[in-house]
């Protein structure tokens, strides 16, 4: 029932599977990307440091070899300017002056000898003097007035002074940032793609399972000829479908076997019964009334035997879920009214009152003949076991997608000895005159209609039998929309 309602996409196990798969995939890719990021960032740093060291070496050479005159400043300035243009991944600054590169030459006393760059260079010199420099290794230095630190390399000049070349880390950071953004976009799309792929493949796979479950739930309610859909290939799902179908083959086979046995048993018993009954009836016609009595009672016994045979076969078939249904849409309300009209005089004769509580038409799809016999069984039961003065109350209720037929009486209730096995096998109360198949048959019919039955004693003593049978699909759908709205 429940498999046919609700939104299948939202309740699919595909969500759970794809969420877990995506989580695992996300963690894995995060680790890989962090590793890549570290590697790339340190590589960029290394390359930029190598460039800085090379350039500062060149500038140191220039400082040593060029005569220290007015021309020198321009030469060094040009070299620094040119160097700054060769910076890897450089962005052209919007401002006229170049603030991403600076050059400082100090004398042996540490005083500023030459400055190329943005501003007057004092802030840069102060920042540099706060650090001890190793010639071979560039350092990151924060300069007052600049948000982003400079990477500074140094070299010694033969006059005892030093040259410093500083490069803003801005471009490097930008490169790393861009790289990270691309990584992130790539990672996000990979995760989403992975989620989508896992979701759709698992959904597709599970939809086969769902189809199989859906088909299987329809099989067996009376129709054993249906099979679950099979998929191509040889995977687990295909195996599941094949196994189920093989199982259904076997079940259908046994049920068919059972039908054959019951049919031939019925046939072998019925033919002699027919002959005997016919002979008795023809001989009845020629007898005087006083001679007829034994023949009449023999005919009545035969009819009881026939009825017992029919019921036993029905119960046996129904126990094996092999009752053959001839379905049509039935209004239970109308059916109960007709049955009560039929039974009321007999009940009244025995001092029993019968009442029906119903709110109007309730439709089910079922075998009308079987439902008639089922209700007849229930009423026969009341008629045979209720003491005079009692009341039988029949109520018909609709709850969600089932209809409940509740039969209550205020008699002595079920005998505790037999209550436990009311539906499992033929039972007879201590004073019963029936053959005890009544409730077993009722149970069989209810189950053949995909319903359920319970029997218990009321608190005040009487018996209570509750039959739940699924509503006709259309009415059930209407009931659901009514509930939703």
């Amino acid at each position: 029932m429940s498999s046919r309602t609700g939104k299948p996409a939202l309740r699919s196990a595909a969500w759970r599977i794809s969420l877990w798969a995506t989580l695992a995939f996300t963690c894995g890719t995060i680790v890989v990307f962090i590793f890549l990021d570290r590697f790339v960032a340190s590589d960029i740093q290394r390359r930029s440091d190598a460039w800085l060291s090379g350039e500062v070496g060149v500038l140191g050479d220039v400082a040593e070899r060029t005569p220290n005159d007015a021309l020198y400043n321009r030469v060094v300035g040009e070299v620094a300017e040119l160097a700054s243009r060769e910076v890897p991944n450089r962005t052209v600054s919007r401002e006229a002056s170049n603030d991403s590169v600076f050059f400082i030459q100090t004398g042996s006393d540490g005083a500023l000898k030459l400055w190329v760059g943005d501003g007057d260079g004092q802030a840069h010199l102060q920042a540099i003097q706060a650090h001890t420099f190793d010639v071979s290794r560039p350092l990151s230095i924060r300069v007052r007035g600049y948000a982003i630190p400079f990477r500074v390399a140094t070299d010694t000049v033969n006059d005892g002074g030093r040259v410093y070349l500083g490069l803003s880390e801005r471009d490097q950071r930008r490169v790393v940032f861009n790289l990270r953004m691309r990584f992130f976009a790539l990672w996000l799309s990979l995760v989403l793609l992975g989620f989508a792929i896992v979701f759709f493949t698992s959904r597709r796979t599970l939809s086969h399972v769902r189809n199989i479950a859906e088909a299987a739930s329809h099989i067996g309610e009376s129709d054993l000829k249906m099979r679950v859909p099979t998929t191509r290939g040889n995977d687990e799902i295909a195996q599941l479908a094949l196994t189920l179908n093989r199982m259904l083959d076997r079940i259908e086979n046994s049920v068919h076997q059972l039908h054959t046995i019951t049919d031939s048993l019925a046939h072998d018993l019925r033919s002699p019964l027919t002959a005997i009954r016919g002979k008795l009836e023809t001989s009845l016609a020629v007898r005087e009334a006083d001679q007829a009595e034994p023949i009449v009672s023999a005919i009545e016994e035969l009819d009881r035997l026939t009825d017992f045979l029919n019921k036993s076969l029905d119960v046996a078939e129904a126990k094996a879920d092999a009752l053959r249904l001839h379905r049509s849409t039935i209004d239970l309300n109308e059916l109960l009214h007709a049955m009560i009209d039929l039974y009321e005089p007999s009940m009244n004769d025995r001092g029993i009152d019968i009442r029906l509580h119903s709110d109007g038409p309730i439709h089910i799809v079922g075998d009308e003949g079987l439902i008639h016999r089922m209700v007849a069984n229930l009423f026969d039961n009341e008629l045979k076991h209720l003491p005079p003065g009692c009341t039988v109350s029949v109520s018909l209720e609709q709850a969600d997608d089932v209809v409940r037929l509740i039969l209550r009486d205020n008699g002595t209730g079920f005998d505790p000895d037999v209550r436990a096995q009311l539906f499992t096998k033929p039972v007879k109360g201590r004073h019963s005159s029936g053959h005890g198949l009544g409730l077993a048959f009722v149970d069989a019919v209810v189950r053949a209609h995909a319903g359920a039955i319970t029997a218990e004693n009321n608190e005040d003593g009487g018996a209570k039998v509750v039959l739940s049978i699924p509503l006709a699909p259309r009415q059930s759908a209407r009931a659901q929309t009514a509930h939703a709205g």
Binding site: T274, A275, L302, R324, D341, Y343, P345
Partner: protein, 225 residues
């Protein structure tokens, strides 16, 4: 009226022959499908009674075959199988009615009468039924006995109408349940009897000559003479 009974069980054959003869039918017998086919080709029967379990073939095949060779007489199927499938299949393949073994002779005779009536040209629909001094007005749903109106419930009227339409013939309890209540059930209590007793109390009360007679082990009959 001439009938062909196709039935292989000797016991059933013999009592059918006797009972049908007593009911005024001329009866021919066939033990298997082949004989039946030959007889049906050479004779004009009013009704065929065919058992489904024949030694040489399935009764349904025989019916199909008979329809093919131009036998149009109504067919009453007898069967020891009682499933709805068989009933439906039999009726689809050209059978006209279906009776499950064991059956009451009264029911067999009633079904034969129905089949003959179905084949006969339809007369105008009756609006009044009269059996001796009992009269039923089918349009106004009123009944009188010796001119005295009977106070019947609608259900009792339908029951009495059914008895009147079959006046002089036996009707069984299961026939009553089928035709009056539309139910094919076999209650193991006396529900039908109680309805009949009540009806009898109204129809045959006041010390009048009893019309509704009980035939124990068989059913009821509304006597027409």
């Amino acid at each position: 009226m001439r009938l062909l009974v196709v039935e292989d069980e000797h016991d059933i054959q013999s009592f059918l022959q006797q009972a049908l003869f007593e009911a005024g039918y001329a009866v021919d017998l066939a033990r298997d499908g082949k004989t039946a086919e030959g007889l049906a080709k050479g004779n004009a029967y009013d009704i065929l009674i065919v058992d489904l379990g024949l030694p040489d073939q399935d009764g349904i095949n025989l019916i199909t075959r008979l329809r093919q060779i131009g036998v149009h007489a109504p067919v009453l199927i007898l069967s020891a199988r009682r499933s709805v499938d068989d009933r439906v299949r039999g009726l689809e393949q050209g059978g006209d009615d279906y009776l499950t073994k064991p059956f009451a002779l009264a029911e067999l005779l009633a079904r034969l009468r129905n089949l003959l009536k179905r084949n006969a040209p339809q007369g105008s629909e009756l609006t009044r039924l009269r059996v001796q001094d009992l009269e039923l007005d089918l349009l106004r749903r009123e009944a009188t006995r010796s001119g005295q109106p009977l106070q019947l419930t609608p259900q009792e009227f339908v029951l009495l109408e059914y008895l009147c339409r079959n006046a002089g013939r036996v009707v069984t309890r299961s026939m009553i349940l089928d035709k009056v209540w539309g139910m094919r059930i076999q209650p193991d209590t006396n529900v039908v009897d109680v309805h009949i007793y009540r009806l009898r109390g109204k129809v045959d009360g006041n010390g009048q000559w009893p019309l509704i007679r009980t035939l124990r082990g068989v059913g009821y009959v509304l006597q027409d003479r």
